[in-house]
């Protein structure tokens, strides 16, 4: 029992680090333009939505903390945003249906938008850069679209892995409800 709990936490930790590394090296691996999908937001939303508020909070907090620690901005700022996003997605768990894929996608896209919007406010708006429309079209929107596509492709995989972990943790009865 104890071992399985550790397994889940270990997998989460590992996934966060891998997502972060993929994000920072994205242009190297895939030789695309300057945009990369915001994998950590996507992960936070998925965890919050599938597993509830606590998972969302922890995933968000550690993802945000990792970004903060590595990229030299104010420490704790992104951790705060991410954990709140994870929390709010956890609230949506009440409407979680197995086959539904629209709601998680909508959540991912909105979370990405909100995150970028807050970033814009705190780092650009306060320095008098008012052309939000430009930033939106050229920076935020491509990232949102890209993240949405990746979310579409990986949501099922995340669900499967989560179910598998559930089976390992609690035995096969838990999956039957």
């Amino acid at each position: 029992m104890f071992k399985q709990k550790i397994l889940r936490k270990f997998i989460m930790f590992f996934t966060i680090i891998i997502s972060f590394l993929i994000e920072t090296s994205f242009t190297k691996i895939f030789s695309l333009t300057a945009f990369c999908p915001n994998l950590l937001i996507m992960l936070t939303v998925f965890m919050g939505f599938i597993r509830g508020r606590r998972a969302g909070i922890y995933t968000g907090f550690f993802s945000g903390l990792l970004i903060d620690a590595a990229s030299g901005n104010v420490l704790g700022f992104q951790a705060l945003i991410f954990l709140l996003i994870g929390y709010f997605c956890g609230i949506f768990r009440r409407v979680y249906y197995d086959e539904d894929i629209r709601l998680p996608l909508i959540l991912v896209v909105s979370a990405d938008f909100i995150y970028n919007f807050i970033y814009y406010i705190f780092f650009f708006f306060v320095r008098n850069r008012m052309h939000f429309g430009y930033y939106f079209i050229n920076n935020i929107l491509p990232e949102m679209i890209f993240t949405c596509i990746i979310a579409l492709l990986t949501y099922r995989l995340v669900q499967k892995i989560d179910k598998k972990l559930d089976v390992i943790e609690k035995g096969s009865e838990s999956v039957l409800d």
Partner: protein
């Protein structure tokens, strides 16, 4: 179905506690910079080996496909030609300054020390900072163990890229000049008029920088070269920043401003050079 909470701490309380903790971290890192850099150094020393690893794996794949397509030969030749062009552009920069008012320039920046004679160290770009859609800073794979120190200038091919902001033992973070709000003091190659070159996110997507504070009676026109000036306290003089692409007089009638096309292609940075000479001020 009754669900009992097996956790000791209520979820809502958890959110509040963690949020409060984050706010404390924010305040702490705003007030005590060493705390933040200490944490950063620890995390980065853990992450950058992995980033270097990914970089080399990625590079391996790319190389393989190129080999299959037989482009390697063509690319090598291209590189040689590009190096030649860089050398010639370097010479051109020198000649351009010589051509216009030679004595003033000699007095100003002591022609023996052009940037081609500065000692350089090559490095690879291994990661872009996470908020890569907004800012323009990146990580390179050489650090203090290789002799890199903070405030060393970074160039690529023939133009200025940015400055080292932080070093670990095997990595360094570079902030580039197209970073929104970041300023470099520049001067015209032709007339030695001073100006300020500023990065701007909106313009960076077009490969441009903002240039301002040029005195209105200077004869600057499109196509002029802009280099780093003597009065900057971090940048070595004589490094090419870019070419003027548009210039007009300001509303106040006293200064001119406009746009600058950077000499470096920031979208495709792979290899950069760090100038290992630091500017000595005071």
């Amino acid at each position: 179905m009754k669900k009992y909470s097996k956790h000791k701490i209520n979820t809502k309380a958890l959110v509040i506690i963690l949020s409060f903790f984050c706010c404390c971290l924010i305040v702490l890192s705003l007030v005590f910079t060493p705390f933040r850099t200490g944490v950063q150094r620890a995390v980065n020393s853990f992450l950058t080996p992995m980033q270097s690893g990914i970089n080399s794996v990625g590079t391996w794949f790319v190389n393989k496909s190129q080999y299959k397509k037989d482009l390697t030969a063509a690319q090598n030749e291209n590189k040689k030609l590009q190096k030649k062009i860089n050398e010639l552009t370097e010479e051109n920069v020198l000649l351009a300054s010589n051509k216009y008012e030679l004595e003033r320039l000699r007095a100003l920046y002591n022609l023996d020390e052009t940037y081609s004679k500065y000692k350089k160290k090559a490095a690879h770009v291994i990661a872009k900072d996470n908020s890569s859609n907004w800012f323009a800073s990146f990580t390179i794979d050489k650090g203090s163990a290789d002799g890199i120190k903070t405030d060393m200038n970074v160039i690529a091919d023939n133009g200025l890229v940015g400055i080292v902001t932080e070093t670990g033992s095997h990595y360094a973070k570079v902030k580039s000049i197209i970073d929104d709000g970041y300023n470099v003091s520049g001067k015209m190659a032709s007339s030695s008029d001073l100006c300020i070159v500023e990065g701007d996110l909106e313009l960076a997507n077009k490969g441009l920088l903002k240039i301002s504070n040029i005195s209105d009676d200077s004869v600057v026109k499109e196509g002029d070269m802009i280099m780093t000036s003597h009065i900057s306290n971090k940048y070595l003089p004589g490094i090419l920043i870019g070419y003027v692409s548009e210039i007009k007089t300001d509303a106040n009638g006293l200064t001119k401003s406009g746009y600058l096309m950077s000499a470096v292609d920031f979208k495709h940075l792979e290899e950069v050079f760090v100038i290992t000479q630091l500017k000595e001020t005071k």
